[in-house]
Amino acid sequence: MNVAESFRDPALCKGLLERLHAELEQPLRFMEVCGTHTVAIFQSGLRPLLPEGITHLSGPGCPVCVTHESEVAAFLDLAGRDGVILATFGDLMRVPGPKGRNLKLAQAQGARIEIVYSPVDAIQLAVSHPNDTVVFLGVGFETTAPTVAGTVMMAKQQGLANFKVLSFHKLVPPALKVLLDDPECAIDSFLLPGHVSTILGMEPYQFVAEQYKTPGVITGFDPVDILESLLIMVEQRKRQDYRIVNQYRRAVSDTGNARAREVMFSVFETSDALWRGVGRIPGSGLVFREAYAEFDALQTLDIAVQETPPTPGCKCGEVLKGKMQPGDCPLFGKGCTPAKPVGPCMVSTEGSCAAYYKYSV
């Protein structure tokens, strides 16, 4: 068994599950705020094996899910313009904007859209299409934003005038604060995101433990990781000793990646941002600093982001805050399916409702 496989070892998982059953004295309602965790928990089949007293909640952990309708409207506005090529990560293609329109439909109707695996590919696209404006759709959390910032720096060095970024990046810690500030919040512990934390480290989460007396465990994506983190939460709550713990040491440094943060904050600065299903969250977005304004699609291409009201009947806000399980939403599986998603949780494959729909037997 290699190292990677050992984190999926059924025997080890069985032992951890037995310990979890034995140690659990009070109910635990934990929330993961990373779509990869959502999928990992469902894919591994871990969910039905957890003790009855443990409730798994899926938070606003997928950057595609929390991309606001009004932001999708801005993508679609750009997609319809002459001389514009959009460069995007693939899973934005199906995200519905106003009236259910999405980039897939725009592409079928003639918009030039290229799926890229890295923002650097968008630079190549700009170089090879000097007469067009290439706009990279900047969606993602702290994991993605530094790479986009680095790409903007490259574009500046190369003097690439036809490369722009539409920055709708979002930051995770302010969203945790919104969840914790909600008086109806019913979250006991956070399974903190592994990828985002490679950049952030532990410090930005300390307020969760200190101010809100809530355990937070930075966790890897294999079943052994998740089970170990649940045990840590259970033990912390038993001792009433709340801390941020880094369980994912094999990938996450306690201090994160200072260089990546420096790159990110030399190109961008924080601002308010719109989260689908949640609303406006102060300090949770990234906008261009003045020194890089020439690459800002919002300013240079005259894009107006107009806040659209939430879809009537959609309970995603409740689901994202842990107040409602996906199956309890009246639209789940009826008016809202992965083929025709109404709300953000059903949009991406990593959304909580989509995962429920796809994996629950």
Binding site: C13, K14, S44, P63, F89, D91, E114, V116, T349, V361
Partner: protein, 345 residues
């Protein structure tokens, strides 16, 4: 590849005009490689000798890139249709072949494709008996599209079918899953993702014939092409009104494919295969069937991946595929909405 047999280097609209340029293309290229008396008769249609119930299937092939490790659009166009015809418990006999070609295609590229089709047809033991060539203006197609229709004689009685899976049956696959899908994805322009994987493009008709004649009582045969193992098993579960139980750790996936999928956010169970089959038959015949498959080309890694059961017994309901994870948990393995898209973090 030898130097092109045609004096022309580039395909022109003239080559699809039905005039002399067309005749040169047909004579110097298609007749040269597909050479057989039925085609060579040059009639408006092919005269075929067939008996008994027939199996017929058609498929159009569009793939980017057209050449990839382990195969090309030509091998796919032969193997894909040969395999579909075979899965009915049939001996594929004849193929038709329609080309839609983009003006400006290098003649050498076309010759490479035609040569590999001829080689694939020879290995499968099928004859390409009729064809058509159209050349369309630049941009109207992407280099080359190929349609093949296959026809074969059904010799299995009863013939395997998607609605014949029964509770108690074993579910076998003939080898690793996802090789073709990931190969094509990683070969696609703009995705600089190098691995040692290659497409599994292969004819399965000889394996089908051996399974039916030497093992018998084969309930279902399907090749899990687009949509992969997960989609095909869902179709079978739906057609047969049963639950298919899949053991996740039994499904063979190459380490390189698993790693590539993990990197790209893809699931190998949904990736296309072009040289693999699913065989569903009574459990007591599974061991003999596996031994036979493993003794044949393209079946060395054959393995049982699951079982068929009644909707009432255990998790899931009729028409669903339930995946048992290595931890002993279970989850639904559903059909995808559309193509898999790489994800963001």
């Amino acid at each position: 590849m030898s130097k092109s047999s045609l004096s022309e280097q580039t395909l022109l609209l003239d080559h699809g005009s039905g005039g002399q340029a067309s005749n040169r293309l047909i004579g110097n290229l298609f007749f040269k490689y597909f050479d057989n008396p039925i085609l060579n008769a040059m009639n408006d249609a092919a005269r075929l000798e067939l008996t008994g119930p027939l199996s017929m299937s058609t498929d159009s092939y569009t793939v980017d890139p057209i050449f990839f490790p382990g195969g090309d659009i030509g091998t796919l166009a032969v193997h894909g249709t040969v395999n579909d015809v075979s899965m009915m418990g049939a001996r594929p006999r004849y193929l038709s072949c329609g080309f839609i070609l983009e003006e400006g295609l290098p003649m050498e590229t076309l010759e490479r494709i035609v040569a590999s089709m001829a080689h694939a047809a020879e290995e499968a033991g099928v004859t390409i008996v009729t064809g058509d060539t159209k050349v369309v203006p630049r941009g109207a197609v992407d280099k080359v599209f190929i349609n093949t229709t296959g026809i074969g004689e059904i010799f299995a009685d009863p013939a395997p079918a998607g609605n014949m899976a029964r509770p108690g049956d074993a579910v076998l696959v003939s080898g690793t899953m996802g090789d073709h899908g990931l190969t094509v994805l990683s070969g696609r322009e703009g995705l600089n993702f190098s691995t040692d994987i290659k497409s599994d493009s292969a004819p399965l008709n000889h394996m089908v014939e051996a399974l039916i004649t030497r093992i018998g009582d084969i309930h279902v045969l399907r090749d899990p092409t687009r949509g992969g193992l997960a989609t095909t098993l869902n179709e079978i579960a739906g057609q047969s009104g049963v639950v298919v139980n899949l053991q996740e750790n039994a499904v063979p996936v190459r380490e390189s494919v698993r790693n590539g999928c993990s990197f790209l956010g893809l699931d190998p169970l949904y990736l296309a295969n072009e040289g693999k089959l699913i065989c569903i038959l009574p459990q007591e015949k599974a061991a003999a069937a596996l031994e036979l498959m493993r003794s044949m080309p393209y079946g060395e890694e054959a393995v049982q991946v699951g079982t068929v059961r009644d909707g009432a017994a255990g998790p899931g309901k009729a028409g669903q595929v339930v995946l048992e994870t290595p931890l002993g948990g279970h989850r639904l393995l559903s059909m995808l909405e559309g193509e898999q898209l790489p994800r963001i973090c």
